[in-house]
Amino acid sequence: MEEGIGMSLEIKGLCKSFGDNVIFSDFDISFEEGVITCILGPSGCGKTTLLNIIGGLVEPDGGTFSGFGGKRFSYVFQEPRLLPWKTVRGNIEFVLDPSLSPSERTSKADELIRRVELDGFADHYPSQLSGGMCQRVSIARAFACPSDIILMDEPLSGLDYALKRNLMVWFSQIWEKDRRTVIFVTHDESEARLLGNSTYVFSQAPVKIVSGRIP
């Protein structure tokens, strides 16, 4: 693994097993801030586990983390995880800082709805939207949250190729506006090639980095 300049998020000696199944054993990886890092690898190799460890959803068995302290995360899950009883606007407002006034929350949500090109759908419920539109709301929600790092777990899997391509182009455009650190997990090489400023390719568990930092 090549060590680049500006690497500020580092994990060293990561260990994680589920029973006898060793996922990470003394594993090192680092991420550059302000770029999209893609993690490419076969299904079930431990990519999601790494995201969950970084996001605090899964406890690691061991390892040191530097640069992650005090950081806030957003998570774009594989499935959109929208609240079905809330409208598009309501779903985005749900993660906004509760100290904002109702009008500030609405205007912030509406601005993001415009950014994800869902104008006119603010008052729609998730059941009235297509899968791709729901995932766009989920991405808008991730950008709405005042986070430092956005974790994305195969958010485009399950969508057809044309839609996937459109969403990727569109995602790069919104990302350009605030250039947050993004860790994007996928098993689709074309997604990694299109989106990633840098890419790590993972092996099967126990995970090794097969190749790293492909421009």
Partner: protein, 252 residues
Amino acid sequence: MRISITRNNRISIASVIVILVVWKLLALHFHSRFILPGPEDTFLALCKLVVDKGFLAVVGTTVLRGLIGFAIAGVLGIATGILAGLYSGFNAFINPILVIIRSVPVIAITLLALIWFDPDSVPVFIGMLTMFPIVCTNVVSGMKSVDPSLVQMAEFYRVGKARIIRELYIPAITPFIFSGISSALGIGWRAIIVGEVLSQPKYGIGTKMQAAQTFLNVDMLIAWTLVAVLLSYMFESIIRAVEHKTVKWRRV
């Protein structure tokens, strides 16, 4: 759709007609208004009872008792159910209590309540105690059905616990709350009227039923029963209407 509703309506009307015919035949068979008066006698008794100036006070008092018992049972049942859904320890604590409340015969509770409370409060207490476990059990099942991935999402985005309860759990369990309320009210009315029959408060449908039975006014007894049935049906319809308005996201 319209055709099937009309057809079903016709079947429902036919069912009511069958009941009336059977009732009339039985009345003719017994041939005594002290055993079973016919539907027309009962209808006359019902008209007499409705125009009586004390009618609203009697019905109003029973409704008020129902609403108080129901409000207490509803608030307690929903709060307890949510807590039991959130904390498995609390669930383990509350479960035996619910089982006991559910299995103790209503009459046993009524007899005890007659010793403990004044006649006006007995029906409220019995109604409350009958409705509480039904609401609570429904809310607990609702809590178990909440999608854990949504809760994980909310916790990940650091949404506060109070907002998670208010904006995630409560909307998710709303259909369960309504089904709990609906079954609780159905059983609750009956329990409240049993309570009134036994505790004999000044006003109450149960008090009137007991008086009618004492004087063998069977037509009045059945007329009051019809009033109780209509009240129960009315509240059931109100609950359905409120539910329809509340969970509009399910219909879009």
